[in-house]
Amino acid sequence: MKVAVTSLGEGLDSKVDTRFGRAKYYVLYDTETKETETIDNSVNMNASHGAGIQAAEAVANTGASVLITGNVGPNAFRSLDAVGIKVFTGADGDTVREAIAKYERGELGSADGANVEGHW
C-alpha cells in the first residue's frame, strides 16, 4: 500500500508540510517494499486557484491510498474522498518518517471532512 505525505523537502527526513494543495513536495512510501519516491508539487504551489483539487489528482495518479498531511480544505477533501483516498491530518512538526510511524501505530486521526476552509 502506498502512503503519500506532504513534505517541505525530499525524502523521509524532511519535515511534513502542513498544507496539502500548496505543499512543496509529496513523499510516497510503499509500506510493503519500503521504497520512497518524492514528487515535486511546485506547479500546484503557484496555481492561482484549484490547487487542492489538482493536488488531489496528482496524489491519486501516484496510486496512493492514504494521505498524511497537516490540514485539508473542502474541495481537496471531496476530491480525495471521491477516489477513496483516506486522509489523516494533524501531522504537524513531524518528519515524514515520524508521521508514517505514527500512522502505522494508529496514532493519527482519520479525517471525515475538511479541517480548514478553502484558501487556508
Binding site: H49, I53, Q54, R78, S79, A82
Partner: protein, 336 residues
C-alpha cells in the same frame, strides 16, 4: 441617459453621489432609476428607503453528470478553466461554487452525459422610491449643525418636491430602484450584476452604482454607460486607486469625469493627474462635519443641504452638457 458611478478606492463616496444624482434627477421630474450593482454589499437602499415590490432570484447553469452515460473521456475537465468540473482517476467531480456557468462542459461532452441545472447565487430586488414627505428636512437648515429638532418640517422645502404617492394603482412611477444582492458565501458577482443591468432604462435616467475596485464586477457595471463618473478623494490612497480606475476604465471608451470628494484634505496629486490627463473635474465636494452628520443619519444630502443640492445640480448639468457635445455613438474624448 445611462450614468455609471465608480471609484477604484472603496469608501470615497460612490453611493453618496449615485444616490444624490438620482435624487436630484428625480426631483427635476425626470424618469429616474437607481441601480445598485455593488452586489456584495449594496447600501444605496439605506438612503433611498425603497419600498421593495419584487424579488427575482439569479441563477447560473451548472453541470450535472449522469454517471451512467459518462465514459470518463475527460473532455469536460480539459475545457474547464476553473477546475469546477474535473476528473480524478475515472471519477468526474463537480464543484458548484467554482463554476462560472459557461456551459462549455455540456457542449463538449460527446455522450451528452452533462445537463445543466440552475444554481441560485443571488437576487434582484425592485422597488419604488417615495419622494413625498421630507421627514426631518429642516435639520440641515440650522447653521449650527444642531439637528435634533425635527418637529417642524420647513414648508419651503417640501413644496418644491413633486409628491409621488404610489399607493396601489396610482400615477406612473418616475423614481424607482433596483439592486443586486449576492448570497452569502458566493464569490461571483458578475452574473448578478449582468442581471441587474437588464433593468437599465431605455429612456430616462439610469444611475448605476458600481462596486469598488477595478476588476470584472466594475467593468460589467460600467459597460454600456453613456458617461462615467469616478469619485475619488485627494489622498495618496484615493489618487493611487483613481489612476488604476482611469487606466482600466478608459479601455471602455466611455466619456468620464472626476468628482473629488472630501476636498480640502490630503494633497494636490489628484488635481495634477486630472489636468495632465485632460480629465474634467465635475465637482469638489468639501470635507465638512455637517455633511458627515447628515450622511451618518442615513439621510440624502441634497434633500437636507441646499448648497449640496446645488452642487449636485450643477454636476448633473455639466454631465448633460458634455454628453450633448458628444458626437452620437460617443467616443471617449471629453476634455482630451
Amino acid at each position: 441617459m445611462k450614468l455609471a458611478i465608480a471609484s477604484g478606492k472603496g469608501g470615497t463616496g460612490k453611493t453618496t453621489f449615485a444616490v444624490n444624482i438620482a435624487y436630484v434627477s428625480a426631483m427635476r421630474g425626470e424618469r429616474t432609476r437607481y441601480i445598485d450593482c455593488d452586489v456584495e454589499e449594496p447600501n444605496g437602499h439605506i438612503f433611498l428607503q425603497p419600498h421593495i415590490t419584487d424579488s427575482v432570484p439569479v441563477a447560473i447553469p451548472i453541470p450535472e453528470v449522469d454517471e451512467a452515460l459518462c465514459t470518463s473521456c475527460g473532455e469536460c475537465k480539459r475545457i474547464c478553466q476553473y477546475s469546477a468540473i474535473t476528473m480524478i482517476l475515472d471519477k468526474v467531480i463537480v464543484f458548484p461554487e467554482l463554476c462560472h456557468g459557461c456551459g462549455g462542459c455540456a457542449l463538449v461532452c460527446p455522450t451528452n452525459a452533462i445537463s445543466e441545472v440552475p444554481r441560485e447565487m443571488g437576487v434582484i430586488e425592485k422597488g419604488i422610491i417615495h419622494l413625498a414627505g421630507s421627514d426631518g428636512a429642516s435639520s440641515a437648515q440650522s447653521a449650527s449643525g444642531d439637528a435634533i429638532d425635527d418637529s417642524n418640517p420647513v414648508q419651503e422645502q417640501t413644496e418644491t418636491m413633486p409628491v409621488v404617492d404610489l399607493q396601489a394603482g396610482t400615477e406612473k412611477v418616475f423614481f424607482d430602484f433596483v439592486q443586486g444582492k449576492m448570497n452569502i458565501k458566493e464569490s461571483l458577482a458578475v452574473p448578478i450584476i449582468r442581471k441587474a443591468k437588464e433593468y437599465v432604462l431605455d429612456e430616462g435616467v439610469s444611475i448605476v452604482d458600481a462596486p469598488p475596485g477595478t476588476s470584472c464586477p466594475v467593468i460589467e457595471s460600467v459597460r454600456g454607460a453613456d458617461f462615467l463618473i469616478l469619485v475619488t478623494e485627494p489622498t495618496p490612497f484615493g489618487f493611487n486607486d483613481l489612476k488604476l480606475a482611469v487606466e482600466t476604465l478608459e479601455q471602455l471608451d466611455i466619456p468620464m469625469g472626476i468628482v473629488i470628494n472630501r476636498y480640502g484634505m490630503g494633497n494636490e496629486e489628484v488635481e495634477k493627474f486630472c489636468s495632465e490627463r485632460g480629465l474634467p473635474i465635475l465637482g469638489r465636494f468639501p470635507f465638512e462635519r455637517r455633511i458627515a452628520e447628515v450622511y451618518s443619519r442615513g439621510e440624502i444630502l441634497s434633500r437636507e443641504l441646499p448648497d449640496y443640492r446645488e452642487m449636485i445640480e450643477s454636476l448633473l448639468d455639466d454631465v448633460i452638457a458634455m454628453l450633448s457635445r458628444q458626437p452620437s455613438g460617443g467616443k471617449r474624448g471629453v476634455g482630451d
